[in-house]
Symmetry: C2
């Protein structure tokens, strides 16, 4: 039996958004590793061992997955959303790159998933319907100065922006500073979408202007989408639609 | 019977990447509208009418979908990839916004899909593993000056970049200019991924440096991913992995 690692995206939280490719990988796996709440989404069955670990141990978890695959196990590393977007894929490749040479013979595959910003955008309309960027606002692994520079240049480029990890208890100040930077670079009417727990039973989507936005509108469960200067709202009796048109005027 | 519109993402082309949510919507539909090759991916069945139309008639197609829904039909508008990323969702909302008031009572839902850049990234490793942007290089609906400005600012922000619609027969010059701009802003060793027909039988993925890249490496079937300054390759006997690490040094 020869082992492998598949790094699989479970999507934002609704089983109807898990791809058949990921479902098939989980059915073939001998071992599943991942952060506790994501492993909890995998059904137990005979022959499958679940290895749930805490947050912030991504490299340990990746090494564990690669070691098991080297021993012949079929290992699925689960991420929420898409594993390639601020999730486990890069961590597994960091572990592989710095690990023993023999790990380079292990088949490793990334199985894409519906990432949070695309699920959030879909629930609100199409705010990412034109050029956009995705920024991880956590400064755990990069200097704040890099985040600030990217925010200013993205605003000057008039990208719509999606923010992952906007705010945590240990980093309450970053999103305060983010809103200050946006207020310096963008007009007060700029639309901001706060999408919390998207596609889960406690989903809450809130639309605000930059003038109205406050830091407490975001937490670690929230994806924040800032529109471009062209993003607008269609008012409807059955609820608003937020979208960015396809055309940019001369 | 009350009608609706669901704007559904079919993913990049492999049926294993179509979400169960989209499959369920197609099973409920009375009518499917979309660009010819995407409608061709939907199985015919009694009670379902397929309406395939040519490229560049997105607003006509959207109005057709909304008119049918207003008459009580259950209409799925199919896009490849994710409908919210350079696809049909924004077009449907443009049609809705400028259409009769009664259209604002039609339930319209966006069903997300695996967009091409995330499928391409997964096939190559994790080149979008850190902050990135997505730019539509077609200047059909925006001035070239806007594209050029966004390219320069994105390079200065050190985003990884994904380019949709990099090159067509009617616009051969845009991607030539794009490579020139990148050569002015980035080092010659910068990695570029040309991912053609991702997840389809004729898939071809090519990794080049900016110095090696030539315009003919891209066509309309290609998603181009330009790494950030930190994106690198892991050499392996079973093929290279391209990824962007999670950490940015001080």
């Amino acid at each position: 039996m020869s082992g492998w690692v598949k790094i699989a995206g479970l999507g934002p939280g609704n089983e109807a958004l898990v791809t058949p490719e990921v479902t098939a990988a989980l059915a073939e796996a001998t071992d599943v590793v991942g952060y506790i709440p994501y492993v909890a989404r995998v059904a137990e069955r005979p022959g499958l061992t679940l290895h749930a670990s805490d947050n912030r141990v991504e490299i340990d978890r990746s090494q564990h997955a690669l070691r098991m695959a080297a021993e012949g196990k079929r290992v699925v590393v689960v991420s929420s959303g898409d594993p390639g977007v601020f999730a486990m894929a890069a961590a597994v490749f960091e572990a592989l790159e710095s690990g023993p040479d023999t790990w380079r013979d292990i088949p490793v595959e990334v199985l894409p998933g519906i990432t949070a910003m695309l699920a959030a955008a879909a629930r609100a309309g199409a705010p990412l319907g034109h050029d956009f960027c995705a920024i991880n606002l956590s400064d755990n692994l990069k200097p704040w100065a890099v985040i600030e520079k990217r925010l200013r240049l993205a605003a000057q480029a008039d990208f719509a922006m999606a923010f992952y990890n906007p705010r945590s208890k240990s980093r309450p100040e970053g999103f305060v500073k983010t809103l200050e930077i946006l207020r310096q670079e963008c007009e007060p009417e700029r639309l901001i979408l706060f999408a919390r727990a998207v596609c889960r039973p406690d989903e809450a989507i809130h639309i605000a202007t930059l003038a109205e936005a406050t830091p407490d509108m975001a937490d670690m469960q929230t994806v924040v989408i800032v529109g471009s200067s062209l993003t607008r709202v269609i008012d409807r009796p059955i609820g608003p639609i937020v979208y960015t048109p396809r055309s940019t005027p001369e």
